[in-house]
Amino acid sequence: MPAAIECLDLRKTYDGKVEAVRGLNLRIEGGECFGLLGPNGAGKTTTIEILEGLLDPTSGEVTILGHTWRKNQREVREWLGVSLQETRLSEKLTVRETIDLFASFYREPRSADHVLDDLQLGEKADAFVGKLSGGQRQRLAVATALVGNPRILFLDEPTTGLDPQSRRQLWDIIRSFQRNGGTVLLTTHYMDEAERLCDRLAIVDHGEIIAEGTPSELIERLGGHHVVEFEASGNSGDGSALNAWRALPGVESVRHDNGLVSLTVREPHLTIPPLLDAVAKHGSQLLHLTTRQASLEDVFVNLTGRHLREQ
């Protein structure tokens, strides 16, 4: 059985100079929820729009359910639901009229009422799009993608700018689409979103995949599952001090950021007592100490030395 989405050595160079995508390989199976995670300008939108057949790659191959975009374009579109990063739907149409319009493009669409219900837009069915809140607009955008009864859903930053509750609502919608057998490809720069929603994900930076796998695999690859962060008086962050932290039992990696030292560790209870001793021996005082589960953010920082949300 062909993969739902597959691409080989995808490249895109804008205007002959901006290398937005630099040799991307992806294989996304049917029924999977796959996430592209990366900072601003990483090339997520460029990649997803090439996969959606909206942008021509400079080179590389794309197949959707075994079909290329060059042949069968209309047929393939019947199977896809798309929500772009920024589309402003017509403000002078009502929510229902907008969904009906998109439904009319597909051979066998779903009923507008069901989609309205699923996205909790029933109350707003007769409101003008211009009068919707940001979260309601995002949901409407997803509704227009779902009304065609797609097999694959492409969502480019579906939850950016939403409050936590609206984000959770959208996650539920995406999960239920997946439960019904749908395949999802989404982009995000929210760690928690990728961690909770995606079966597998690829971390993209500067147009390249720098890590790929299930969220837990990626965290596993970090070495430790836990992060111990502490701040101490004195020069706890200089070279010799960092070497001392690295030598502690169970420490996989050390990072220093603005006076805050983070250690990735396998087992906090084995690392913390010697850490306290070492701090004391160093002649400094512990200002604070926390431990937490390692997250994708840590993976990203470890791989790139940068935080995902900073620019």
């Binding site: 739902a4 199976e29 049917g30 029924g31 999977e32 929820c33 959606e52 057949g53 909206l54 942008l55 209309r74 047929e75 579109r77 019947e78 896809l80 798309v82 772009l84 920024e86 589309t87 402003r88 739907l89 017509s90 002078k92 149409l93 009229e97 009906d100 319009l101 998109f102 439904a103 009319s104 493009f105 597909y106 051979r107 066998e108 669409p109 779903r110 009923s111 069901h114 227009t144 065609g148 009864n149 797609p150 097999r151 999960r175 997946q178 439960r179 019904n180 057998g181 749908g182 395949t183 079966d199």
Partner: protein, 367 residues
């Protein structure tokens, strides 16, 4: 979440309905009409403005009842005779004469209150002061002179008589209404297509549409379809208004007028499509549209006949699409010319529309 992988990768929900071949097209047309209807400015510019223009110009240039000419007679020796001669003349009802001192008469003449100043020439005759650049002044001189001569006893060697003609068909408003219809078809064709497309491109809505199975040709056809529906309303309104308010007599068949207008509407829609084929910003397409329409407002005989322009540029004027449309509309509406006689003009329209459309298809950017 691995639950999902166990279920088959086909949608579990049954489709609600099957859409027919033309469902996208009809929805696109309906949605377009709804959007237009919900924009009050658009309704005003497409329907209200041309009617106001017709009303305003129709009233300003209406044929007035036999004009009265205003004459100032300068007080002095012999001018009392002039006044009594005019009173006795057959034209007395159309000449309003007043006796004034010279400065007051000259001031009134300068301000346009009087069309003519009459004074004694000191040799028993009269002297006229008139302005050859003012048609009413020229007329006034002829009329007053005639009145004075006849009243003084001149016998006309040739008996003549006049009949007043104020028939619909030859008035300014009759000339104007077909011109306004043509101009309106151009304006709304260019604006509604050009503006709407660039707006949709800017909002990434075109890109969103292209991401669905919607046929691109359906989208373009729907634009043309929308124009045709609107065209019927625009033409009907202006013609009906002209007939009701100004008693314009529509000589040609309604069917011919509609066919002609349809070709005009779609032709200008093609031109609008071409102007909008690449522009990414509303500002740039607005400039382009104005640039294209400007020569036609001036040269294509909307408000006045283009015959007044030098004959060297006549062929250029006649090749403009709006000139062809206006001429054909006037011939059909006012003279009842059959469509076949307008073939040349129709060809010009079709060529403009068709070539623009083909170029637009080549250059058009959906994203």
């Amino acid at each position: 979440m691995s639950l999902a992988q166990e279920t088959p990768a086909t949608p579990a929900r049954p489709p609600a309905r099957r859409n027919g071949r033309w469902s996208a097209f009809t929805h696109l047309v309906v949605v377009r009409m709804k959007e237009l209807k919900r924009e009050p400015e658009v309704v005003f510019w497409v329907f209200g403005f041309p009617l106001l223009l017709a009303l305003g110009l129709g009233i300003a240039f209406r044929n007035k009842p036999a004009d009265v000419t205003f004459v100032a007679i300068v007080q002095g020796s012999g001018t009392q005779d002039a006044l009594s001669l005019i009173e006795r003349s057959p034209q007395k009802s159309s000449i309003h004469a007043e006796l004034l001192d010279k400065p007051a008469a000259l001031k009134g003449f300068r301000l346009g209150k009087y069309d003519l100043v009459v004074e004694s020439d000191g040799k028993g005759g009269f002297q006229y002061l008139y302005d050859p650049a003012r048609p009413e002044s020229v007329l006034s001189r002829a009329e007053v002179d005639d009145a004075l001569q006849v009243a003084a006893g001149r016998k006309n060697p040739l008996p003549t008589s006049s009949v007043i003609s104020n028939e619909p068909g030859s008035r300014y408003i009759d000339f104007l209404i077909p011109g306004l219809i043509g101009m309106n078809l151009m304006n709304s064709g260019m604006w509604s297509i050009g503006f709407a497309l660039v707006d949709m491109r800017q909002r990434k809505l075109l890109k969103r549409f292209v991401a669905t199975p919607m046929r691109r040709s359906d989208f373009l056809l729907a634009l043309a379809g929308g124009r045709l529906v609107l065209m019927i309303a625009e033409v009907g309104l202006l013609l009906g208004f002209g007939a009701l308010v100004f008693h314009i007599r529509v000589v040609g068949s309604l069917l011919s007028i509609l066919i002609l207008s349809a070709i005009g509407a779609v032709g200008f829609a093609g031109l609008g499509l071409l102007t909008a084929s690449r522009a990414q910003k509303i500002e740039s397409v607005s400039g382009l549209i104005n640039l294209i329409m400007m020569p036609m407002w001036i040269f294509s005989g909307v408000f006045f006949s283009y015959e007044r322009f030098p004959s060297v540029i006549q062929p250029f004027i006649k090749a403009l699409p709006l000139t062809a449309l206006n001429d054909a509309l006037r011939a059909t509406i006012l003279e009842g010319a059959p469509l076949a006689t307008q073939a040349g003009r129709l060809l010009i329209l079709v060529l403009w529309g068709g070539i623009s459309f083909l170029l637009a298809l080549r250059w058009f950017r959906w994203t």
